[in-house]
Symmetry: C2
Subunit: 90 residues, 2 copies
Amino acid sequence: MNHLFKALNDSTRREILSLLKEKDMSAGEIANEFNISKPSISHHLELLKRADLVNSKKDGQFVIYSINTTILDDLLNWILTLKNKTDENP
Amino acid sequence: MNHLFKALNDSTRREILSLLKEKDMSAGEIANEFNISKPSISHHLELLKRADLVNSKKDGQFVIYSINTTILDDLLNWILTLKNKTDENP
DNA sequence: TGCATATTTAGATAAATATCTAAATATTTT
DNA sequence: AAAATATTTAGATATTTATCTAAATATGCA
């Protein structure tokens, strides 16, 4: 859960997820959407990967990133648990 | 949204929310649950308040904190939007 | 084989953050 | 009014983090 919250606590990374929601993209394509150096974007992608929010696969010289939303179910459950004052109404 | 993600990106603050889910507590009661100084807890509570995740009301010399989960609806929607690949299936 | 393109790794730096102790403020009690 | 209790504010410090440039590591192409 720590990795997940950490990954989401940055607007650039959240924007990357929004982009990947629409379509898979290479690291370079993603970097072109921001006024941030490619190494910085690479670092952000690494944190997203560590949180299991994105997958990557090598395609020739490119690395294609895709979103993985299954991990967000954990977050959904965490939130819903917090919203249920007790477990009396599950 | 920035304040919200920032507030949640700390395990102490998330634990505070879990405590407040069960019952309202004073700042001191909260602090007693952690091996962290009271000023540090006070700082965490301030960040939770800035994110609108908790409310506080003064009761004599005590300050009673309570959880506010309505702001979590924004987070829920943000997650659900991300999970819907397109808006074709709303 | 050698050059161009794509991405990551390394190392440096400035800003943000969690924590502490000491002091200030507010309230209650004696 | 003075002492005790509860909480926050101030100021300091060590760690984490986002960012950069330069260099290293793939891969593709001529």
